[in-house]
């Protein structure tokens, strides 16, 4: 077809086109009418139906909260459990006047203002249409009171929830820890899907460290609801994976003995099973009741705990740092033997003081007049300071630092708890880096008797003692023995084998000195050697307190007490086949032999007595 004989008839084309425009317009009007008819059908005829559906969109996805794992001690006694409890919960979006509702609830149930504040804070953080608890652990009376008025409170309901409970209260609060309401920072880091529906998260202790294992995996249910938001049908359900149960190495009865033995003192006791590294006792006194933290501790109660001079929230066993005092002497003595700085028959004369060459300052022994001629064994038994000044001077700080480091001083033990302190094992480098000063010979001397810069935690002391008792096979302390999930059991943290190369003869000589501390007539802890068929090896220590809290009120008796020395004792037993190592620190306890040693004695005797 060529353009030469096709003549465009504009008039015909124009008419055709206008017809088509008209046809298009009619079609468009017809189709639009179709849309309008459909809209009328949806918005007038179906309005009621759809309005109902919209009001409570008929399908809800409800998270199914996993049951938190239970924590047991080594004998299966429950340290943390879940108790059913009733809580009063509100869905703010379903309440027309929230402030008024809260006010009315407050009158009926006597809710303190503080709980209301807490609720308001938590409510803001929640997703819309989430049920948020106002009261947890309601009493039967409270439940009954609300049940009567429930119809007048739309959007408010009583829910049965499992609430964490710690049956041993303050006894194991630091080691077991507690769960608390999820806070804002945690909300950002926790996996949202797993914690939808969970209100609590492990904060400290085992509860915090093993949060992932204890929490489990959330499930969900797709629920069909009616207009009143009541479930009428469960369409699909994915069960939650409950959290793992944890079996600790801790012996709660032994823990109680240690805690009670501390009596009115502040302090810490750590006991380790030498063969495994499992921690038997991890006591810090004073403790605190962890249960209020679960329901939401009141501000006043929390402030009281925070500001108490006794610092109950402070985990002394894990984070408390003290000068080891004379308890360091067995390790210094062993260093002397290992480095051939001294032999164990070698006698040194103790005049009651020690002087560095060309220096007039006298470093005093705790015993005026001195111990006379002593060998290493006797120096340990009698805790002769002059002997260890001399030995420290012979070793020098570099060798002391290298040797003590192998026993875990100055570093974290790696126990399965958060917040461990590494303490301080001073060295030339440390002083140059941190203080910008060179090391003075006098500082070597006082390090030799466990004073000066040296700072250790009760856990480190127990670990070093266990390692010594284990003849140099380094003991790694841990708390969780077994993690029991549905159908599978796994071990707690891995321990790695590490051995300090020590001569057995040297170790045995030191151990003999420590046995004499308890069992010889001149031993500093001879008070605890009764009623036993085995030998306890130990070493007393007394640490000077050189700083008082700056803001402490001036009170003569109080200050006097606070200025008293810390009493320390390290020990293990039986001496010939060590099973348990115990470290005790009693703040302001005075003398290690009279105050700290009996506590360790009770723990050892109970543990070894149970074994038979």
């Amino acid at each position: 077809m060529s353009r030469t004989y096709t003549i465009k008839d504009n008039l015909v084309e124009n008419r055709l086109f206008l017809n088509r425009i008209a046809a298009a317009f009619i079609t468009i009007i017809v189709l639009t009418s179709g849309l309008v008819i459909r809209l009328v059908y949806l918005q007038i005829v179906g309005h009621e139906h759809y309005a109902t559906l919209a009001k409570d969109n008929s399908i809800k996805i409800e998270p199914l909260v996993p049951t938190r794992g239970i924590i047991y001690d080594r004998h299966g006694k429950i340290l943390a459990e879940n108790r059913p409890s009733y809580s009063l919960e509100l869905i703010p979006e379903q309440i027309s006047n929230l402030d008024d509702t809260l006010l009315r609830l407050q009158k009926i149930l006597d809710i303190p203002d503080e709980k209301i504040e807490q609720y308001q804070k938590q409510r803001i953080r929640q997703k819309r249409f989430t049920s948020t608890p106002l009261l947890i652990s309601m009493s039967d009376e409270e439940v009954a009171k609300f049940a009567v008025v429930r119809p007048y409170f739309p959007g408010v309901d009583i829910h049965a929830r499992l609430v964490r409970h710690y049956p041993y209260y303050e006894l194991a609060s630091h080691v077991v820890g507690y769960v608390g309401r999820i806070n804002e920072t945690e909300l950002k880091t926790l996996p949202i899907a797993e914690y939808r529906g969970s209100n609590h998260v492990g904060k400290i202790g085992i509860e915090g460290f093993y949060e992932t294992e204890l929490h489990g995996k959330a499930g969900y249910a797709e629920i069909e609801t009616n207009v009143q938001a009541r479930a009428i049908n469960i369409i699909n359900e994915v069960d939650p994976d409950p959290g793992a149960n944890l079996y600790l190495t801790l012996d709660i009865d032994l823990q109680k003995t240690a805690y009670d033995a501390l009596d009115t003192f502040n302090g810490a006791v750590v006991a380790i099973e030498i063969k495994t590294g499992g921690v038997l006792v991890f006591a810090s006194r004073p403790g605190f009741d962890p249960n209020p933290f679960v329901v939401g501790i009141t501000n006043n109660a929390y402030q009281a705990l925070q500001s108490s001079d006794n610092q109950p929230l402070y985990n002394r066993a894990l984070r408390g740092l003290y000068p080891p005092g004379s308890t360091i002497k067995p390790f210094i003595g062993l260093a002397g033997l290992e480095y051939n700085a001294i032999s164990y028959q070698h006698r040194l004369f103790c005049p009651g003081y020690y002087q560095l060459p060309n220096v007039s300052h006298r470093y005093r022994d705790w015993k005026k007049g001195g111990h006379g001629g002593v060998n290493l064994n006797e120096a340990i038994t009698q805790s002769c300071d002059v002997y260890f000044y001399t030995l420290a001077s012979m070793l020098g700080i570099d060798r002391m630092h290298a040797f003590l480091q192998q026993f875990g001083f100055g570093e974290k033990s790696g126990i399965d708890l958060v917040g461990e302190k590494s303490g301080l094992l001073p060295s030339r480098e440390w002083k140059r880096d941190q203080r910008n000063q060179s090391w003075y010979p006098g500082e070597t001397l006082i390090t030799g008797i466990g004073q000066g810069f040296l700072q250790v935690s009760p856990l480190q002391l127990a670990r070093a003692t266990a390692t010594l008792a284990n003849k140099g096979n380094v003991v790694t302390p841990f708390l969780v023995d077994k993690i029991v999930r549905m159908g599978s059991t796994s071990r707690g943290p891995e321990t790695h084998d590490k051995t300090i190369p020590l001569k057995l003869g040297n170790v045995n000589n030191i151990i003999q000195g420590m046995v004499n501390v308890v069992h010889s007539a001149r031993g500093t802890a001879k008070g605890i050697n009764n009623d036993i068929t085995y030998q306890i090896a130990g070493k007393t220590g007394t640490a000077q307190v050189f700083n008082i809290k700056q803001d402490a009120k001036y009170n003569e008796n109080e200050i006097d007490f606070k200025l008293r020395d810390h009493a320390l004792f390290i020990s293990f037993a039986p001496a010939d086949d060590p099973k348990i190592a115990v470290a005790v620190i009693v703040e302001n306890g005075g003398h290690g032999g009279s105050v700290a040693a009996p506590i360790a004695g009770k723990v050892i005797k109970q543990f070894l007595g149970d074994q038979k």
Binding site: F17, A24, V36, G46, A54
Partner: protein, 376 residues
Amino acid sequence: MKTETRSEQFQPPSLIGNILRKLHIDIPLFIGLVFTSLLSFIILYSAGSQELDILLRQGARVGLAFGLMTVLAHIDPYQFKRYSALLFNIGIFLLIAVLIMGQIGKGAQRWLDIGFFRFQPSEMIKITTPMMIAWYLAEHPLPPKSKQLFIASLLIVIPTLLIAKQPDLGTALLVASSGAGVLFFAGLSWRFILGIVAAISSLTPVIWHFMRGYQRDRVLTFLNPEADPLGRGYHIIQSKIAIGSGGIYGKGWLGSTQSELDFLPESSTDFIFAVFAEEFGLFGCVGLLILYLLIIGRCLYIASQAQDTYSRLLAGSLAFTFFVYVFVNIGMVIGILPVVGVPLPLISYGGTSIVTLLAGFGILMSIHTHKKFLPN
């Protein structure tokens, strides 16, 4: 055609009117577009969780789109006709380029990255396809003969298939209908139109065979949304709940509970009509439809007044395609058409569709304001 005579007289001797006329802007159409765009901001503010950020971004796009419209309105329609074939071929070339890059990238590929900005060739094709077909048919006497019909159909099918393969069913549909629109206005015989409809119905199984899994799912879901309420039928059920719960008067601006609660998916984009219907009710919906009809009516009027075949066909097709936009989007949201990705024109959030739409209106304005001779 009394009303149209009146609107032709609607030329206020104001300063703004003069400026707009100098810019070759058609005032009634311009007012309709500005009004719809303002409505878009009002709904987007509510549907987009009242975030100003969304409004600012949309504002920038609308500004750009109006700018492009003004530029195109200024160009003589003869130039469009002259470059129709070239632009169409460039569009096809870019579509193939995108498809090849998509093969390499393994996935849906619609964008072409040209260094500083990203460009969607399928949007350009929405305008160049009717331009191409209008150009081709205008060269011959109308109504088209079978040979021209065959070539025109080929010119429609090629870009449509290329886009459907991306895969972008919504855009493919719009491209096909813009081409079909030209054929319709060119005087395609009614018998032929009926024949095509019959052929498409009988070809359904073949089309089904070539559909992708998710496209099949959409059709199945459309046929029975309640079968899978949490999965594929979710969109339709939720939007029907939103629209139905709006009732006659609606829940008022910012009163939408369904989009607020995230029950309604894509509430700012393809399903924005559901939010509108929930907040403004049946009255609002009918009002919006009337607004659209006024725009379409004005466009058809412009087409009827156009002075050459190319301009008429192109103007008619652009008006028709705009209606297809409206009908397909609202139809899918209210559950009478399957869910294909077509935005509500001038209202939905998203830049590319509004730019293309206003480019089309720019061409319409160009056609209307560049008359070579007065009608007798």
